[in-house]
Each structure stands twice: as structure tokens, then as C-alpha cells.
């Protein structure tokens, strides 16, 4: 990666990169297969934190009892099981599809993304990591090596609306961990709803009131299958639902 800079692209599970190559949407001079880097597949738990190597497969994470609750409920929504058999956590975060589950999970859990290159390692907050569709703050020669999440087993909520049940990308989705609230699949990147969070911190309100606050804060864009209006309305309703769900799970909201 250091040698070839932006001429090189890492290959993780290939579930997004191979189609991009097939459609000639990217034409890298070099592809660096990360699959044999054992260190990147490690998962470890220490001091209330879960550290997931970038090459950990979605399928293994989905069935790992050490994962935070939000991860366990959200990951089964990623594609079909055949896609999760190959797709990785690091690939999903680095690909940064605005409708993908992982960036939303990372933002709701205030994850720390660990990037590495020959120049060393650095920590990036989830918010600073995600820029826009297929854009992150990783430098061309950098790899995402690890994502670090707080171990939370209560107070989470997750919901998304798709065209055909499990398997499709979300037309709109919402995730929360306690009073941290995120919508995804509505704009150019997942959005933390700070106004909604303030509202909850000041005592909150009914589900309908929470959704109304969310509707005025969500920044939605038009997409192929949906208008920005639809996405805002649906995501706002999902925000109300996930907060109710998190409270039922012992959240502090």
C-alpha cells in the first residue's frame, strides 16, 4: 500500500469491490488481498471494550456472544447469509455505503476506528471517519485495521425498512444506544441526531413527539427508490420506535 499509494486498493471480502471492478467503476493498478493477514481477523474483549479486526467476517460476528447488543441485532440485516459468509466488518466500514448498517452502528456506539500505515497507527472517531458515499478519512496508503466498541448489552434499538425484507439495503433506518440516536440510508452518510438527543436529555416525550423532533432534524436526500420526503418521514418514525425499544431493553433514555 505504501509503495503504490492511490494506485492500490485493498481487497477484503470482495462483496462490494468485485462488482465495482466488474463494472469498471474502479480501475486500480494493484489489488492487495488482506485475507491472509491473520492479525486482522482477531476479536478481543477487554475492560468493557470489544475490539474487532477489520477482516472479521460478518457471519462470525453475527454469532459471537461477545458482541454488543446493537451489533447482534443489526448485522443479520446485512445482505443475505451468502454475502455475510465473505463480507467483512472493515470492508463494510471502509466502503461507506450510506445505507449500510456498520457505519450506523459505529456512529451510535461512538466507535473508535484504528487506521494503520507504514507511518504508524492512529485512532479516528466514527464521526470523523465517515465523510460521504464511498468516502472515508483514510489516507490512500492507510488500512482500517480495527474497530473498538463499548460492550453494551442493554439500552439499544435498531430498525430499518427495505423493499424485500432481509437482504436488501435499507431505504431508511435508525439505530440507538441509550441517548445516542442515528439515522442511516436517508442522506449521504449516517446522521447523529443531536437535537433529538438534547430532547431526550431534557426528559424526552412521547414516541410521537420524539418522531416529530427527528423529522425536523433529519437531512434526507432523494434516491433511486425513494424521495427525500419518504425517507425523512419513515426514518423519523423509526427513531421513535428504536427509542421505545431501547427503553424496553433497560436503556437510560
Amino acid at each position: 500500500m505504501a509503495e503504490h499509494g492511490d494506485q492500490a486498493m485493498p481487497l477484503a471480502g470482495g462483496q462490494s469491490l468485485i462488482p465495482l471492478l466488474a463494472m469498471r467503476l474502479v480501475r486500480p493498478g494493484h489489488i492487495v488481498d488482506l485475507s491472509r493477514v491473520g492479525e486482522l481477523q482477531q476479536v478481543s474483549v477487554a475492560e468493557g471494550r470489544v475490539s474487532i479486526g477489520a477482516m472479521a467476517r460478518q457471519r462470525d460476528i453475527e454469532h459471537d456472544p461477545r458482541m454488543p447488543g446493537l451489533v447482534r441485532v443489526a448485522v443479520p440485516h446485512i445482505g443475505h447469509f451468502q454475502i455475510r459468509n465473505r463480507g467483512t466488518v472493515g470492508g463494510s466500514l471502509s466502503h461507506m455505503d450510506p445505507a449500510a448498517e456498520w457505519p450506523a452502528i459505529a456512529l451510535a456506539l461512538d466507535a473508535v476506528m484504528v487506521a494503520a500505515s507504514v507511518r504508524g497507527r492512529r485512532d479516528i472517531t466514527a464521526d470523523a471517519f465517515m465523510i460521504g458515499p464511498q468516502m472515508t478519512s483514510l489516507e490512500p496508503e492507510e488500512l482500517l485495521v480495527e474497530v473498538v466498541l463499548p460492550m453494551r448489552t442493554e439500552g439499544f434499538g435498531f430498525a430499518e425498512v427495505t423493499r424485500r425484507g432481509l437482504g436488501d439495503f435499507a431505504l431508511a433506518g435508525a439505530a440507538c444506544q441509550d441517548k445516542a440516536v442515528v439515522v442511516f440510508g436517508v442522506g449521504l452518510r449516517p446522521q447523529r441526531l443531536r437535537v433529538v438527543e438534547d430532547f431526550l436529555n431534557r426528559g424526552g416525550g412521547t414516541r410521537a413527539e420524539i418522531s416529530a423532533v427527528a423529522a425536523s432534524e433529519i437531512q434526507a436526500t432523494d434516491a433511486i427508490h425513494t424521495s427525500s420526503h419518504y425517507r425523512r418521514v419513515v426514518a423519523a418514525a423509526l427513531v421513535g420506535a428504536v427509542i421505545e425499544e431501547s427503553q424496553a431493553r433497560g436503556g437510560v433514555a
Binding site: L11, G14, Q15, I18, P19, L21, A22, M23, I31, D33, S35, R59, G79, H80, F81, Q82, I83, N85, R86, R164, G165, L166, G167
Partner: protein, 146 residues
Amino acid sequence: MTVNGSRWSGDVPARQTLCDFLRDELELTGTHVGCEQGACGACTILGDGEAVRSCLMLAVQADGMELTTIEGMGEPGNLSTLQAAFLRHRAFQCGFCTPGFLASAAEILGSGRRYSRRELRDMLSGNVCRCTGYEPIVEAVFECQR
């Protein structure tokens, strides 16, 4: 790599997808290619016992793996239990989707768990069939669960 029980070793172009390698190089044309972007499931095969999209893997990534394609699952006169159930339930018409469904179903059945029809419908939703309406496919897989 091992393909349907036979060892294969050699060089492949780095850019070749696994489905193209299977079809063009090994002439195992039972692996069908529909969308070439992971969505339709026609190209699904078993890699180390797990259902994977052969259109979303490079052949080089299968280095060292054990692959099973439809050609390794049974043959005329000696159908697998699952293939026989597909036949009995008329779970295919044109047959384009069938090899992929059989690979996905093989992993599902391999788990040894018993799923409801509803769960099977969700789990089989990663494979698209334009002919059957899915009912007979779900029934055939349901019946094969012990």
C-alpha cells in the same frame, strides 16, 4: 484447490472471477451466471462448506479451498436427497436458478437445525427464481430437514 473432490492446481489470471474459472477453465457449466453482482444467487457454490457467490470471488481467492459445485452434488440416477426432493416437488422449471438454490440449501441443511417455513423463506431470499413462485422450493428444503 479441491473441486468436487478432485485436486486442481495451476495458474489463473489474477483478474478472473471464480465463476468464469469454473465455467471456462474447468468446463463446469452447471454454475450459472446471472447478475454478476451478488444479487441473484444463480452462481452460488459451496466453498469450504459455506454458500458463497462465485461471481464475487476471484479465482485466486479460492487458493487452498474445497469447492463443491452442482456437478459434485449428485448425478442422474444418483440424485442427492435434496435434488430428489426438488424433483418430487417440481421445484424448478427452466432450472437456471437451481444450482444456486441447492448450494444455499445445502448450507442451511448442513447446520442440522430445523427451521420453520417462514424462516426458510427468509434464508432462501438470497436466491432469485423467475419461474416457480418459490413455494415448491421452500417445501422441498423443508421436507429435507430431519
